[in-house]
């Protein structure tokens, strides 16, 4: 691949299959140009490309497969660093592969254990034997099973099944979140939301079938996605009021609940959400209003906010949206900022509604360990 400064990018491209290579390059192009809109679409495309890679590539063993995915994953993530969903999906697939390896190893060990202890133990003790095995592993930290020599043939099918399950999970996350709507919204409630989130929109529409409530939407200048959200909700018949960002604190006194979506859930339970959400979270805390975040699991990222300056965290859009170039003279003498994201610390969030259920922000670390493998901390 040619780089901008005229040099040729020299990486060891291990993908041999041309179709898969095209798919990966196509996705990288889309990421760079921002052609794909929405985290769900991004996640789906990433998983599909990885699935192709797993199924089509001819690889000797599992170790090679993992290294190919890591390398290509790194390329994908560096194409658009602010889109954490891509990285999340790469980590998920890697975890799936490692899990399948471990599963096969465990069954092999169990069979050997069983054959040894078959004579002496009663059936009820098998459970305790398994426990002893896994405890032993935890305590001795024997490290990962040596997967270098595992042949891929027996693993390919279960891995592909598991990745397909992941795709199904992506498709059904919005439904699963909306299914919990009635448990969180009571009648005649006043709910505040910000910007546009398809998850939250589906959440409200599901609840509106059985409950009447009012929604106050914050417009979120200068992108004004809140206005789109307000029109969508109003066309669904929900009593909607649109307010400006400056009115958030004033309105919060009469709000019962704040339900927002987010771009990413950080590893410490904090949020990377749309600009203005920190102010909303602060106002909610001041007025003791619960802040509920609806997020599908694919938005959960193992990354932390590393610097308070938000250097690697935030992204800036053109200041044209804030003050147009036609203002001319003063524009040249003033600095204009237009950040896209906002960091909300975990102590301001009351509840997360994931597709697997509701959780407190303090539990997010546990979910992380279930989704992502410790071996994959850094690609």
């Amino acid at each position: 691949m040619w780089l901008r400064n005229g040099q040729m990018e020299t990486i060891d491209i291990q993908i041999k299959d041309p179709i898969v290579r095209n798919k990966v390059d196509g996705l990288i192009e889309d990421l760079k140009h921002g052609n794909i809109l929405g985290s769900y679409q991004l996640a789906k495309n990433t998983v599909e490309v990885l699935l192709h890679m797993i199924s089509k590539e001819e690889l000797a063993n599992v170790k090679k497969l993992i290294s190919v995915i890591r390398e290509q994953g790194q390329r994908l993530m560096s194409a658009q660093p602010s889109e954490t969903v891509v990285g999340n999906m790469v980590y998920r697939v890697l975890k799936i592969i490692r899990d399948e390896c471990r599963a096969i190893d465990e069954t092999a060990e169990e069979q050997s254990q069983e054959s040894i202890q078959k004579s002496s133990t009663a059936p009820g003790d098998d459970v305790s034997n398994k426990d002893i095995l896994s405890l032993k592993k935890l305590l001795l930290a024997e490290g990962d099973v040596d997967i270098s020599d595992k042949s891929i043939s027996s693993l390919k099918a279960p891995i592909i099944d598991a990745v397909n399950e992941l795709l199904v999970e992506l498709d059904t996350s919005q439904e699963n979140i909306s299914a919990q709507a009635l448990e969180h919204i009571h009648s005649n409630e006043v709910i505040m939301t910000a910007g546009q989130s398809h998850t939250v929109e589906a959440f409200f529409k599901k609840a509106a079938k059985k409950r009447t409530f009012k929604v106050i939407v914050v417009e979120c200048a200068p992108f004004y996605q809140g206005q789109k959200m307000a029109t969508n909700l109003a066309s669904a018949g929900i009593n909607t009021t649109l307010i400006t960002d400056s009115a958030v604190f004033a309105m919060m006194a009469r709000v019962n609940k704040v339900i927002i979506g987010t771009h990413t859930v950080m590893a410490n339970g904090g949020l990377k959400a749309i600009n203005g959400c920190h102010a909303i979270a602060l106002a909610a805390k001041y007025h003791s209003v619960p802040l509920v975040v609806c997020a599908p699991m694919y938005k959960l990222s193992p990354k932390y906010l590393c610097s308070c300056d938000q250097v690697a965290f935030n992204k800036f859009a053109s200041p044209e949206d804030v003050m147009s170039f036609s203002e001319g003279e003063i524009l040249s003498k003033a600095q204009i900022y237009n950040p896209i994201f906002d960091y909300v610390p975990p102590e301001l969030v009351t509840l997360y509604i994931f597709n697997i259920g509701g959780n407190a922000p303090s539990y997010v670390y546990r979910l992380l360990s279930e989704l992502y493998d410790t071996e994959d901390q850094e690609l």
Partner: protein, 477 residues
């Protein structure tokens, strides 16, 4: 009342409410049995039922009753059609609001032209306004009126200068509490100049009523600010203090002096506040000061600090839809101050670099809360969470004995249509009026709790927020 009809009941009953009074009078005399329309209360039905047997004659057959009912319905339908053809002639002041309100409900938004008769309509009748869907919490506040012809049907007793001022307020030409108050004082001076006491009337009494009428007109054009109310109270007390025997010219000179001194006190207070801030090192070199929207006082303070040689940079925070921060930015940049500009949603991103926040105020309430442009409370909250001190600069003439704990009870509503324009992008809300479930809320002021504010800077010194009643007492003495 129009308000009760808001549930959009289009039953025949709602359309005929104005004539209900007349119909009731018909049903009382014994000779008639008024037919019952759908939706009448059972009580009324009872009365009517009791009316017919009370006649004493043979009860009418069902067919006769039905025929009478039909005839009455036809008559009422014809009457309604007749009234509908002349919608814009106000018959009487008290009845018209209701009729208009109901008719407007049928033809939402089509009749936009509305007139306000200055001074004649009693204060408690909210002027007829174009139908805007009531947003629940502000249903008690007068709705924003646009396309209003202020001068049509205006009371001829209203001074032309006051008419001009009212128009300037409505159009937003004069905006900001200090500007409005100073303009008001100037105009009242003009009114007094051209005033002459009619024979056999006392100057103080007559002038008071005259000025009151003018102020009522201004209040209808745009609700009076706290500063304006206080200035007017001061003027009234001056007028009441004029002894009866004094000659008209002398009395007028006294009043001019009174108005001028009040004006001067406002301007000098601004200077004193700037002096307080600068001399007490509240603005130091290397500061990054955050300001919100436009405040003439803050602008003067910053310009003076810059002239005295302090080096600091300013971050101007702006809020939709008024975007007054641009004006502030323009003036500060012209003065040579280093500025940044952000929208309020980015305030939490830049707050890390801010050393202090300077806010202007519309009024300071007696419980220590600050009433200011909507969004100031949010800036104060974010500043508090980052431990940045919030300083409010306010002249003492804006202190009031009112108390308020939230921004809903007393506020001013702005034009909801101003939220629709979002610059170059295609407007998402261009059809918002057609969507029945969608409301746009635009209010002008909000109330900042005293615990978010570090200090208030007045011309009397630097006081905590809760010292407002103390200052009020001092001023009265």
């Amino acid at each position: 009342m129009p308000g009760n009809q808001d549930s959009a009941s289009r039953s025949p009953l709602s359309q005929q409410t104005p004539s209900r009074g007349r119909r009731k009078q018909k049903s009382n005399p014994r000779g008639q049995s008024t037919p019952q329309l759908q939706g009448q209360t059972p009580q009324q039905n009872q009365n009517i039922k009791n009316a017919s047997p009370g006649e004493g004659d043979t009860p009418k057959t069902k067919a006769q009753l039905r025929a009478e009912r039909r005839a009455l319905q036809e008559a009422q339908r014809a009457a309604k059609a007749a009234t509908k053809q002349s919608p814009s002639t106000p018959v009487s002041t008290k009845k018209t609001p209701r009729k208009f309100g109901l008719q407007m409900q049928d033809t939402a938004d089509k009749h936009d032209k509305v007139s306000i008769s200055g001074g004649e309509t009693p204060r408690n009748v909210t002027s007829i306004s174009t139908i805007q869907r009531r947003t629940g919490f502000f249903a008690h506040l007068p709705r924003y009126q646009h396309n209003v012809s202020l001068t049509k049907d205006a009371n001829p007793k209203i001074h032309p200068a006051i008419l001009k001022l009212g128009l300037q307020y409505v159009e937003g030409v004069i905006c900001g509490s200090n500007a409005r108050c100073l303009a008001l004082l100037g105009t009242l001076k003009q009114v007094i100049e051209t005033y002459s006491t009619p024979k056999q009337k006392e100057l103080s009494r007559d002038l008071s009523t005259n000025l009151k009428k003018n102020m009522d007109f201004l209040a209808q054009s745009r609700p009076l600010s706290v500063g304006m109310i206080n200035a007017f109270k001061h003027l009234k007390s001056c007028i009441n203090g004029i002894p009866r025997e004094k000659a008209e010219d002398e009395a007028k000179q006294d009043l001019y002096g009174c108005i001028d001194s009040y004006k001067q006190s406002i301007l000098l207070a601004g200077k004193a506040i700037a002096k307080n801030l600068i001399e007490n090192d509240k603005i130091t070199d290397g500061d990054t000061i955050m300001v919100y929207a436009f405040s003439s006082l803050i602008k003067n303070v910053l310009c003076e600090a810059h002239d005295k040689g302090k080096t600091f940079s300013v971050i101007v925070v702006d809020g939709r839809p008024k975007l007054e921060g641009r004006e502030m930015l323009r003036r500060l940049v012209k003065h040579g101050i280093k500025c940044s500009y952000i929208l309020i949603s980015a305030a939490s991103y830049v707050m890390r670099e801010v050393t202090k926040v300077l806010l202007g105020a519309h009024a300071l309430l007696a419980n220590g809360y600050v009433m200011s442009r909507v969004g100031s409370s949010q800036v104060a909250l974010i500043a508090r969470s980052y431990n940045v001190p919030v300083l409010v600069c306010c002249e003492t003439y804006k202190f009031t004995e009112k108390v308020q704990t939230d921004s809903f009870v007393s506020n001013e509503l702005g034009d909801p249509n101003s939220l629709v324009q979002i610059g170059k992008k295609e407007n998402y809300l261009s059809n918002w009026k057609e969507q029945k479930s969608l409301h746009l809320m635009n209010f002008i002021y909000d109330v900042t709790p005293s615990d978010l504010i570090s200090m208030v800077i007045t011309e009397l010194g630097m006081v905590p927020c809760t010292s407002v009643p103390v200052v009020l007492r001092i001023k009265q003495v």
